[in-house]
């Protein structure tokens, strides 16, 4: 493990840092992230990240997984909010339990995380599709 380039703490702090770091990294090794190591290593190698240490790879995987889970959770919240809004009086069932991840929810949640995702809803054959018949040239 490379020596820590920690800024200005006393020897005690450094000792704590070292131990904290060691604990942190050892706890990482216990956890198996969903994103496989081979995938992470492949893309890290592509972007110039060079480190033979597996723990760092795991750290990257865990960070990515955390990020993804947060996005998915936000999308779920959006989906549930969408379902809760129109209350159907006819159906006795409280709500439909069908939760579908749609592009709308996803784009909304990613917007909060700084990712602009816009999805075209449909594709038209020609520019005049869907226009009013009066305005369409025939």
């Amino acid at each position: 493990m490379n020596s820590s380039s920690s800024s200005s703490m006393g020897g005690e702090g450094r000792h704590d840092d070292d131990s904290g770091l060691t604990e942190f990294l050892s706890s990482l090794m216990d956890y198996t992230p969903t994103i496989p190591d081979e995938l992470t290593e492949h893309y890290l190698g592509k972007s110039g990240f060079h480190c033979p240490d597996l723990r760092l790879t795991r750290l990257v995987s865990v960070a990515t997984q955390k990020f993804m889970l947060e996005v998915a959770n936000d999308a779920l919240q959006h989906c549930k909010a969408r379902q809760a809004a129109p209350v159907k009086d006819k159906s006795k069932q409280p709500k439909e339990k069908r939760l579908v991840l749609t592009m709308d929810d996803l784009s909304k949640s990613l917007q909060e995380y700084g990712v602009n995702l816009k999805h075209q809803e449909y594709f038209a054959d020609n520019p005049s599709t869907g226009m009013e018949p009066t305005s369409r040239e025939e």
């Binding site: 380039s5 480190c51 990257v60 779920l76």
Partner: protein, 362 residues
Amino acid sequence: MSDGNKDSGRGQQISSKKSRLSGGDDFGRAIAKIAVAQLCESTGFHYSRRSAIDALGEVAVRYICDLGKSASFYANLAGRTGCNVFDVIQGIQDLDSWRGFSGASGVQRCLVNSGVVREITQFVSTEEEIPFVQPIPRFPVSRMPKHAPSFAQAGEEPPGEHIPDWLPRLPDPHTYVHTSVWNKRDTDVKADMVELAKRRRKAERSLLSLQQRLACNGTAGFRPTKDGHVGNGNQVVNDNPLLASPLPYGEKQVSEIASPLKAYSGKRLSVLETFVPVIKAAKVGSLDFNTNERKLLHGIRPTVQFKVGTVKKSVAASLPSDTLIADKDSWSLKYDEKDDKKKRAEIIFRAAIDKPHELAQL
């Protein structure tokens, strides 16, 4: 990517066909999509749109790449090429900085105590593990190119002192100096000689037969032909008259006018038509061929009927030897003017053309 891997089902999708630009990274993207789908399912989604999963997988790949870039950037900033944990932590902080994390405002802080580390620690401790569904091999698989062996590896001595032995060896001389070609044909000398003698004999035979035929055609009416046909020897029979050698002027009497009349009178219509005046004259008076010939010469000249057929006639056997000698004399007398060798060449040439015809006779 198979749907069987994911537990979440696929909902109805209103998506149009998009042209897939297949890059070299399809495998990595597919893996990322599977992992992301697992995460969504763990969150609580039952179904998902395919486009949404594609987008989320792409976001995950981008996140990994950006993290790696930032970490390597920080390592380079510190004058290193290999990244360490603090570079990674700083990279994570960069990506999460817009959202904010606790302890971001502190200037002098240890990275280990930074908010991101704590969050990750908390995440690791609380979240349950969701391992990836399938073991995947290391990718991308790179193929090692096959190098040409060096001099030392091949066990050869380099041709010159100036060439070190760790260089690849020179190619085989047959590729650039000379490629030997082996003649596949078996040359049997004896068989070749036999074949050659056979051909020579054939040529001589055909030449002889041609000479004999010319002699018999040349001497007017002298040669008894054994073909059994009634008529003068002046009939041009069983031979291609167009290929016969031209006769000198005055040598051959043009008495052929009479012969068709004699042989075929009354048998063919065309002949009858042509020879109407002759027949009339014959009916009137005695048949005087000479006078008739002269008369007819001025008038219509009838067509000469050539008899061309496969007549079995053995040329060599039919002629007695003394007549053969006489033949040669008369023949040589006739062709005194022309060069003998040149004539022979012409005859052989014609014999070669005539060969299939003669072979049938022989």
